[in-house]
Symmetry: C2
Subunit: 196 residues, 2 copies
DNA sequence: CGATTTTTTGAATCATATCAACGTACGTGG
DNA sequence: CCACGTACGTTGATATGATTCAAAAAATCG
């Protein structure tokens, strides 16, 4: 129960639930422990869950034809992660989602989510708000990718998510920002030498 | 009334409404005519509406520091357009949204949308589904931008949206796909000469 | 038809990727 | 708690996809 407090707080920020509603809502989630490097979603399998990170970190990535990994999503505590294109439409996934650290997540399966949404208007509202904000965030990311250079994207990221920038290996950040790890390394070191 | 039939059909594809519900829903929309090159959203002003295109075409774009336009969204009949980051949070816009042709739209203002969502669970469901699919679409676009070359993105676009590829000037497509109009021109002509 | 908008072409340049090699750090089993 | 192996970061040389600039050609529109 206490483990779910984070999730309750998270939900209460978007819709205001009574104690009973909050309990009803979180009772649909399943607590799961995931070891570092373990996958929770893989291509060709349908993403069964929407995953809320209680503790730990994840990355979602695709593998292009030529074999390079491209990180599409990152998630740490209090973030959600899944292959939404798979989950929403219940189609085979194209992404891998892998734990970057030993982690604990709360999983909501598709059927339970449908049940929740039909039970209570507020639950539907929660998912609507979540989707809208995710969409707006994605759009900001598209704008950033189209209008900024690799260096600008990196600085923006450092400024907006300093905790994440330090917590993950550099190749993860580089890939997430759409550049190679070598190029990010060069950017950082040129910058450092300029600064001194 | 008959002008709104398109919108009713659009909504019925996502949630099933009675005749009365459908009427109630669309009664909140305002029909507006927009001339080619006219703006319906501009930076620094809050986006007042969510816009459904009955007839015509629009583009949403940002202008980067160096002055180049980057097209973020396109919309034709039966699509929605706005600066969602502005609309959802009711903050100043960063995008321009401009008509590419003489157009007719149905506009839903923010307050009316809130009212609709609180009135009927189904309306909320409609907006939730819309947001989820938009989000999934944006994510596919991010993946495409990160993993494909300009040429591949262009072919993908031609295949997926042939009507749009032909309807708009090439510089619009180029910008939407994140490349210059000159480069797209080169891509097309190299391809044509290879084919013959 | 003239004026504007859109597309094409070529040359020079730039941002970023690729390849390859080496250095460093880390964590895991003995 | 050391040592080894794997994972991660750096550096330099080279390659390339894509941009920029400039100008001309083609298409469209009032």
């Amino acid at each position: 129960m206490t483990a779910h407090k984070n999730l309750i707080d998270h939900i209460q920020k978007k819709v205001s639930l009574s104690e009973e509603e909050a309990q009803e809502f979180i009772s649909c989630f399943k607590l799961t422990k995931v070891k570092k490097r373990q996958f929770i979603i893989q291509p060709d399998f349908v993403a069964k869950h929407r995953n809320y990170v209680l503790q730990g970190a994840f990355m979602g990535y695709v593998v292009a034809d030529a074999g390079q990994e491209h990180i599409i999503q990152l998630a740490i505590e209090d973030w959600w992660i899944s292959d939404y294109n798979s989950y929403i439409f219940q189609q085979p996934a194209t992404m891998f989602v892998m734990a970057l650290e030993d982690s604990v997540i709360l999983q909501l399966d598709f059927a339970s989510e449908q049940k929740l949404k039909s039970m209570n208007h507020k639950y539907e509202t929660f998912f609507r708000i979540t989707a809208e904000r995710s969409f707006a965030g994605m759009q900001r990311r598209i704008i950033s990718n189209l209008t900024k250079t690799a260096e600008e994207r990196f600085h923006e990221f450092e400024d907006n998510y300093p905790q994440i920038a330090n917590r993950f290996p550099q190749y993860v950040i580089a890939s997430f920002l759409g550049m190679t790890t070598q190029y990010l390394s060069k950017l950082r070191n040129i910058r450092v030498s300029k600064k001194s």
